[in-house]
């Protein structure tokens, strides 16, 4: 992993085929940094923990056997 130090308002550019991604430091204090990100269309910017949460929810939602849930939802529909 590349590690760079940045001062307030300094940025980093990631050059890409679809355009450039720009990341810059807005402010930082007490171990917390506010970061600005600009990306070309087609990129989804998402907090890492949110993606992990969605993956986890998807995994827990994946069913092998439909019988139990069929009964469950069937009951509610009646």
């Amino acid at each position: 992993m590349l590690v760079l130090s940045r001062k307030k308002n300094e940025g980093i550019i990631i050059k890409g085929k679809d355009g450039d991604i720009r990341i810059f430091l807005i402010e930082s204090e007490k171990g917390r940094a506010r970061i600005g990100i600009e990306a070309p269309k087609g990129y989804t910017i998402v907090r890492e923990e949110l993606l992990a949460e969605i993956e986890g929810a998807n995994r827990m939602s994946a069913l092998k056997d439909m019988e139990k849930i069929k009964r469950f939802i069937g009951e509610g529909n009646k």
Binding site: K41, G42, T44, V46, L50, L51, E53, I54, E55, G56, A57, N58, R59, M60, S61, A62, L63, K64, M66, K68, I69, K70, F72, I73, G74, G76, N77, K78
Partner: protein, 132 residues
């Protein structure tokens, strides 16, 4: 939602990147808000729901390029459907309103997107409305 009855779809569920072929089925009947997204290549199924059943003013705002990718520039919005994954746990159902599945039923493609709206939770409990 009437047109969604056993259609073949290509797309990926986040965290299940290996699987790209699904069938969208209506085992609870056409009038039910529930559908099942069933993986063709593995015993993996997701129960999904029409989010408007839970939130009448459900709103999804996604990058145009995602819609373009789904639509192939054929801008007939009638073929776009939105479904959210449901997770059953004990006697409660949870719905993921934060990352809906956007489907183009005509093209047979779907994308699970992540919305920027912080107000929509990943695991929102809800109750099945009893029909009178």
């Amino acid at each position: 939602m009437k047109e969604i009855n056993e259609i073949r779809l290509k797309g990926k569920i986040i965290g299940f990147d290996k699987f790209t072929e699904y069938l969208l089925e209506a085992p609870f009947g056409e009038d039910s808000p529930f559908r099942v997204l069933k993986c063709v290549d593995a015993p993996v199924s997701f129960v999904v729901i029409n989010p408007y059943y839970i939130l009448e003013d459900y709103f999804f705002d996604v990058d145009d390029t995602i819609i373009e990718e789904l639509m192939d520039r054929s801008k007939s919005e009638e073929s776009i459907a939105v479904l959210c994954i449901v997770r059953p746990n004990d006697r409660t159902l949870y719905v993921n309103l934060r990352s809906p599945i956007i489907i183009n039923t005509k093209k047979g493609r779907f994308i699970q997107v992540i919305l920027q709206n912080e107000g929509y939770g990943v695991s929102v409990p809800f109750a099945i409305k009893k029909e009178e």
